[in-house]
Symmetry: D2
Subunit: 101 residues, 4 copies
């Protein structure tokens, strides 16, 4: 897969309209997930980690107990690309399965 | 926590009545879980692994793609004990959250 | 990536010569790994799980405490393919890092 | 286990002398781990997650690719306690096994 190029702010805004929970901030896609407890949060992180390896595209993320704060951007493109949306969509799907609050 | 003692076949049968999906076979509690895909199956295994470490009581388990076959028994007691029920109950709760089929 | 085709027994034998610990048995690559404890074993499984998702090629594996018994084959090809060797090589590399006994 | 009480700055300093890599900063134990790649970093996190569940004591941690930045403190005690040292010692042991750079 060739590395995708940076998406314009307009395109990012358009695509965020169908991606619940995420915002565009400081050149990154940002979302905070909340789960029932640490166990559910880390199960989510494990699924996201497998997806990240699959895409060879990795999140910046912070976890404390049941919360996972994620920031996605594509370093090589200095902004948000298709890769970030692919990972964000997968994360939303995993979080739905793992039962975020 | 002191190691619990082996439960009688009658007690195991009684307690299985409220533990969906598990059977008592050959001195072990046995269940096969099915998930949507490998990612969901391994997220379940990760939660079960954390719980196993917490209990210091570990499963015999076999995974292929979306299936996880589990056997629980307590070696020291040569049979099924409270520990096996604790782990089995947690696994059912994780599987419900992770959406088995 | 197109799915690779089944390797001949001769090719499998040749390639196993440089893959410590694995044998060819019943149309599968087989190895049992032993680790210090459950924690090390499951860390290995987590790395292998990420690699499996990356390759879209998954192991049959059985774990009890510090042991992980793995069987690799390619269902579509009814035998051993390049995919099995890719996963086996990664597993050896992960096991070396995680300190098998 | 009863919750331990806050350790004095002197005690923290003394114990840090035998805990390579960690510093005491702003009422927390802090360390940044670096691994070979994301796979090794996440394997470390998985082991640490199992240990955290075992202790019922969880880290604040941030991961980007091969780096894991950890902050440990005990909320109830408003400072550093024995629990933080237990988790920090385990993390050092896991990182040694998983081969940090």
């Amino acid at each position: 897969m060739t590395r995708p190029s940076k998406l314009s702010d307009e395109t990012v805004a358009e695509r965020l309209a169908t991606l619940p929970g995420w915002t565009h901030h400081d050149g990154k896609l940002v979302r905070e997930f909340r789960f029932k407890d640490f166990s559910a949060a880390f199960a989510f992180m494990t699924r996201a980690a497998m997806r990240a390896e699959q895409l060879d595209h990795h999140p910046d993320w912070f976890n404390v107990y049941n919360r996972v704060k994620v920031q996605l951007s594509t370093h090589d493109a200095a902004g948000v690309t298709d890769f970030d949306f692919l990972l964000a969509e997968s994360m939303n799907s995993f979080a739905a399965a793992d039962g975020p609050q």
